[in-house]
């Protein structure tokens, strides 16, 4: 009886059997202007001959799964013959859901997993709980931790204590990778060539024939006079290099009236009982795709240290692979002896319906 762990993200789906390695696959469908009849699913992205001007169809909207058509097609592809060849009757699945998912979405997911795919047993859980599980596995002595999950759709700050998440402290900032990318697209369209300064770098755009992926030129190779002879398309970036990720720390820069990550962290911890607060400050965990920005961890540490009371010790942990950290937590959970108690089997569901899932899953 094998266990499939699926971290169902809005941009990437991290999927793999618990005894194998994780694969990171885009969780959407693509359409291309050139190949007009075919719709590409998930990792068929490599098969597209002309990747310029792709049309994305994402099943998630604002972080919640709304478009089941697309999600089912992606899952069919992932569970099918070409990818994981899932034997549904013999597999249990650990699948992640966003925080505070609506009950209609939860019911739909139950139906689809049990009735359409017919998995043997299902565990639905938040990605942050998997990260917390993984963190406690490494740091056995700690009781509490606070997980900052900064992904594609939004950033969530979730305190965990003794293995349970604390709902009163959950804080959502509506700034995620999607917003950062769109904002960058806006400002590079309109900003003109700036003066030279130490921050300026040139970014070579991909043209999909010789250069498949864009890259940044080191300062020595930058050419200030005249055009490039090689015909590369160049984008000049100066303060956008740091102004865009700065939006995670100050969403008010662009007009979004919300707190940034450090402030929201401190705010969330202040909503917790007094005796737990020092423990939370000592165990801050950064996960999600946005944690890959260089210098992210140091910046969060610096800001939280400035806002936190002097007596408390502040410690921020950045795992080696923030994107797959929840998946690794799921893998550990699947090997946990208590795993059988936490899942809902198909027989349970068929007898009792949605009620048993609501009871058992702490979503």
């Amino acid at each position: 009886m094998s266990t499939l762990v699926l971290d169902n993200g809005a941009y990437f789906a991290k999927i793999g059997y618990s005894h194998e390695k994780v694969s990171v696959i885009p969780n959407c469908q693509f359409r291309s202007k050139t190949s007009r009849l075919k719709t590409f699913t998930a990792n068929q992205l490599d098969e597209i001959k002309d990747p310029s001007g792709l049309f994305y169809i994402l099943p998630f909207q604002k972080g919640y799964l709304v478009n089941w058509d697309v999600q089912r097609k992606v899952w069919d592809h992932l569970f099918g013959k070409e990818m994981f060849k899932v034997d549904f009757a013999d597999t249990s699945i650990v699948i992640t859901e966003p925080y505070f998912t609506f009950s209609s979405i939860q019911e739909s997911m139950n139906e689809i997993l049990f009735e359409e795919y017919q998995f043997q047993s299902v565990l639905r859980i938040n990605a942050g709980s998997l990260s917390a599980h993984r963190y406690f596995h490494e740091n056995n002595a700690e009781l509490c931790c606070i997980v900052v999950d900064s992904g594609f759709s939004s950033t969530h700050i979730v305190p965990h204590c003794r293995g349970r998440k604390m709902k009163e402290g959950i804080c959502r900032i509506n700034v995620g990778g999607k917003l950062l990318t769109n904002h960058l697209k806006e400002i590079i369209s309109y900003r003109l060539k700036g003066e030279d300064n130490t921050v300026m770098r040139e970014y070579v755009l991909p043209d999909f024939s010789s250069i498949k992926k864009g890259f940044c030129k080191p300062r020595e190779e930058m050419n200030f006079t005249g055009k490039y002879k090689t015909g590369e398309q160049i984008l000049r970036l100066t303060n956008e290099r740091f102004a865009v990720p700065e939006m995670l720390f100050h969403p008010s820069d662009i007009g979004i009236q919300e707190m940034g990550i450090p402030e929201a962290l401190v705010n969330s911890i202040n909503n917790m009982p007094e005796e737990m607060q020092p423990h939370f400050y000592k165990n801050i965990v950064l996960t999600g795709g946005n944690a890959l920005f260089p210098g992210y961890r140091d910046r969060v540490y610096k800001e939280v240290r400035a806002l936190a009371p002097v007596e408390y010790q502040v410690s921020v942990a950045l795992p080696q692979n923030p994107v797959c950290y929840p998946w690794e937590g799921g893998k550990l959970l699947a090997e946990n002896p208590d795993f059988e108690e936490m899942v809902v089997t198909r027989e349970d569901y068929e007898e009792n319906g949605h009620y048993v899932c609501e009871e058992k899953f702490d979503i």
Binding site: V66, W68, Q257
Partner: protein, 160 residues
Amino acid sequence: MSSCSSHSDDLSSVRSQDPNQRRVLDSATRQRRLTRQLEALEKDNFQDDPHASLPQLVKRLPQFDESNESGKRRKKTRGDHFKQRFRKNFQTLLEEEDLSVSEGPNYLTAFAEPSKFPQRHFCAVCGFPSNYTCVSCGARYCCVRCLGTHHETRCLKWTV
């Protein structure tokens, strides 16, 4: 000297567009523009669906696994039911959930509050910190040169 004269040219060009010719947006309109700009940041795609103009092919109904492939008629009715239930957009789902009556923490209470620190403003043209606001549309700028660029290219030039 030449730079001086070009500088005064700049000033005169700004002054000729005096309040009679340039309309000034009021704060409600500015707020609306800002909201629309922020909503535009939530878009997935900036171009149209390349398949949208194709004639609708017979829709391939959701793939069930092999045991269910027989019984096409049953598939059809289930497909319609699925379509109704599973294609709602986010706003509809949120309204259905009717969170204002439920107790305890939920999606709406989890919102981050406005920041306690004052907002920082950046020039719309160059991105460096700005101190001044355009009279007509409310965009920020840092220096007169950026204001000139702004008036030439972007001020009131479109509705988002």
